[in-house]
Symmetry: C2
Subunit: 174 residues, 2 copies
């Protein structure tokens, strides 16, 4: 499947409502449990997605489109959510993610990025040269990957409950 702004937007605009329907008003045990030490709960993952909307995707997009000299991305802080989410409820995180995403997609649409511009390059601090098309595609795959992670983390809370079905449920053995 080739990248296009239309099929990328289809996913990016659906993620907030998908997460709202998956995660709103769930019991704490579903929201705050993780997969073990140094792994993330659905609550942690929501905070990570918000941090991406605040500091990563659109900021990097602007760096690539900017004509200036030093087109190097700042490293992304993968642990910022542990500070940023403090004191917030899951409902607040879901609302914040939805409004930040909507604002970012409105901005993205307003840029009317051309086919040529998608080939523009910048430097990733660890990965080296990347294109705008790769950045946009990664934003999409990152959303889908974290929905998969959230549901895997939740499924694992029942790992000890499914008895012999454990061998059929590959999600519980990842």
């Amino acid at each position: 499947m080739e990248y296009s702004i239309d099929n990328a937007l289809e996913i990016l605009e659906r993620t907030p409502d998908t997460l709202i329907h998956l995660l709103s008003n769930l019991s704490d045990a579903w929201i705050y449990s993780n997969e073990g030490e140094e792994t993330w709960s659905p609550y942690d993952i929501l905070g990570h997605l918000i941090h991406g909307e605040k500091t990563d995707w659109v900021t990097r997009l602007e760096i690539v489109l900017n004509d200036g000299g030093n087109k190097t991305f700042h490293p992304f802080d993968r642990f910022a959510q542990f500070e940023d989410s403090k004191g917030k409820t899951m409902t607040q995180l879901l609302d914040e993610f939805k409004s930040r995403r909507a604002k970012n997609l409105a901005h993205l649409r307003s840029l009317h990025i051309s086919k040529d511009q998608y080939e523009l390059k910048a430097m990733h601090p660890s990965l080296g040269e990347v294109t705008l098309k790769q950045l946009m595609s990664t934003w999409v795959a990152h959303d889908l990957g974290h929905i998969a992670q959230i549901t895997r983390v939740m499924a694992k809370q029942y790992k000890d409950q499914v008895g012999p079905w454990l061998e059929y449920l590959s999600i519980l053995n990842r």
Copy 2:
């Protein structure tokens, strides 16, 4: 996390709307693409979830609760959806899943299953003895596992688009 009917229902009742928000009105390429030969697309997975509502979860639940002699489950047909879904749109599948799930959960609630009844046993055709609690927990984990699978299948459609980010996106390497 211990199984309880309340925390199981929280997941089971959310799955249809989660999938509706994830999958409604997407382009065909997102819906009909799979992970390669003999793997399933999101469309195939929806058909599989519907077949579970029609023939598996509640039917098995009734077998366990039934006082009769031969408490053995019928094998589940994991390929029925390739015939059953023929000619149906994704929207029709999403609607059918939602209405069948709602009906099944209303029936489940009406049974007022007791704590003791959750320990009742039946024979799985391949796995041997299982309890009603294990069946119910598996229904929940099965939902979450298939949401994870759907988003993984979708993410993989961009595998060739993300460039060097491939190494960071573990979902694309599963």
